[in-house]
């Protein structure tokens, strides 16, 4: 086969292309490329333009240094009180050391996933079911700490482990639901009874205050009435005394006692007449003779009066 100058130059051109492509390396931001020189770790290339010696240097690993969310497969854990719990978590990690991430572990993703799962299992195994719901933070911290202890040589930092889901078996879930329902019902009953108690206290207090006020009012009214009556009695007594005094004075005057007699006789007859009018039964004085004597007396008085007038008239 003839090797022409043209063939040689073509080969040289191809070699030149390969040389250019192998030599120039542009590493993007937040990436790190690990260069091996003759099979040994040589350098970690940072972002920017990097030129390596072709054929001697080799880009062995390319790492992204961004934070990576890694879904940890869900697993069944058993709590301290022997309940099965399905736990699903998510792990946030970041390659912090490209060299260690390349050589420290054959597969750092598998390493941290498995370690997170086993640590989670042991942390949950030390807790009772109710605690697992309350202490998620502690679980997360325990997992991160455990991974930190082991992962020193993996070039990876686990920033967070978050439990996405904690799913207990269906019947436990139902029991928990029933418990919380009962708890709510209990609280509702207590609240209702508190309300009734308060209501009764209020009503009783109101009634007490109302009856106190009412009795105060009645007391005052009775006092007022009694004072009124007393004043009235006094006034009547004074008036009666005055009247009697006048009557007495009138009696003292000439003919006063006869006038009294006449008056009494009139009233007697009048009262007797009324009795006879109102009742079918005729009430008769025990001694009718009294009646006639009384009338006689009255007549006598009248006569005397007439006589006196007759005597007086000639004046």
């Amino acid at each position: 086969m003839d090797i022409t100058f043209g063939g040689v130059t073509l080969v040289i051109l191809i070699v030149a292309l390969v040389f250019v492509f192998k030599t120039i390396n542009v590493v993007p931001q937040q990436h790190a490329w690990v260069v091996e020189r003759l099979g040994k770790y040589h350098a970690t290339l940072g972002p920017g333009l990097n030129i390596v010696v072709p054929f001697i240097d080799r880009i062995a690993y390319k790492h992204s240094l961004k934070e990576i969310p890694l879904d940890v497969p869900s697993q069944v854990c058993i709590t301290k009180d022997n309940t099965q719990l399905q736990v699903d978590g998510i792990l946030y990690f970041q390659v912090t050391d490209a060299m260690r991430a390349s050589y420290g572990s054959s597969n750092y993703v598998a390493a941290i996933t498995q370690l997170a799962q086993t640590t989670l299992r042991s942390v949950i195994g030390r807790m009772e079911l109710d605690k697992t719901f309350e202490e998620r933070d502690q679980i997360n911290t325990s997992v991160v700490n455990a991974i930190d202890e082991s992962a020193a040589n993996w070039g990876v930092k686990v920033l967070r482990y978050e439990i996405k889901d904690l799913t207990p078996p269906a019947d436990i879930l139902h029991a928990m639901q029933a418990q919380i329902t009962a708890e709510r019902g209990k609280r509702a009953l207590i609240a209702a009874s508190e309300g009734r108690k308060q209501e009764q206290i209020n009503i009783a207090t109101g009634e007490r205050e109302a009856s106190i006020a009412r009795s105060e009012g009645e007391k005052q009214a009775a006092i007022n009435r009694a004072q009124g009556e007393a004043a009235a009695i006094t006034a009547i007594a004074e008036a009666t005394a005055g009247a009697l005094r006048q009557v007495g004075a009138a009696i003292e005057e000439p003919g006063g006692s006869q006038a009294v007699n006449l008056r009494v006789a009139e009233q007697y007859v009048d009262a007797f007449g009324r009795l006879a009018k109102t009742n079918n039964t005729l009430i008769v004085p025990a001694n009718l003779g009294d009646m006639s004597s009384l009338i006689a007396t009255a007549m006598q008085v009248v006569k005397t009066q007439k006589a006196e007038r007759t005597v007086v008239r000639p004046e």
Binding site: T4, F5, G6, V8, T9, L10, I12, L13, V15, A16, L17, F19, V20, F21, T23, I24, V26, Q29, Q30, A32, A43, T44, L45, G46, P47, G48, L49, N50, I51, L65, T96, D97, A98, M99, R100, G104, T141, V144, N145, D148, A151, A152, N153, W154, G155, V156, K157, V158, L159, R160
Partner: protein, 138 residues
């Protein structure tokens, strides 16, 4: 079509591709193609053009390596803030335990080690390097 036009067309295509790729590889090859075009313009035959293109490409790469673009101060990756954004950030350390501590940083607890020569007292420290998942501060 003349050879030199072919070379220039190739160079133009390479530059265009280079712009799309956002890298640096094809630029040197394009320079080689431009050299090929110049040689073709001088009526030198195709093997000579290819040789010129290859040589210019290689020389341009070597020159690029020596240029200031490639001579970024070669820093140890563990201390390079371009490699690890945490370098240069500050952390608050409340107490030291034999030159090591555990601090809250970016919402997580980190192992912290004191850089040689730095005083072990409570305060704010700057991250100087990252070794594995351990921050070296001073």
């Amino acid at each position: 079509m003349a050879d030199w036009i072919m070379w220039l067309v190739a160079a133009g295509v390479l530059v265009a591709l280079e712009l799309f790729s956002g890298t640096f590889y094809l630029l040197m090859v394009a320079l080689g193609a431009v050299a090929g075009a110049l040689v073709a313009f001088l009526r030198i035959d195709l093997p000579g053009q290819m040789l010129a293109a290859a040589l210019v490409g290689i020389v341009a790469t070597v020159l690029l390596r020596r240029s200031r673009f490639a001579r970024t101060t070669r820093m140890e990756a563990a201390r390079d803030p371009n490699v690890n954004l945490d370098i240069g950030q500050t952390v608050q350390v409340t107490h030291w335990d034999n030159g090591a501590a555990r601090v809250m940083y970016r919402g997580a607890l980190w192992d912290v080690e004191l850089a040689p020569g730095a005083p072990a007292q409570a305060g704010i420290f700057t991250i100087r390097a990252v070794r594995g998942s351990t921050l070296i501060v001073s």
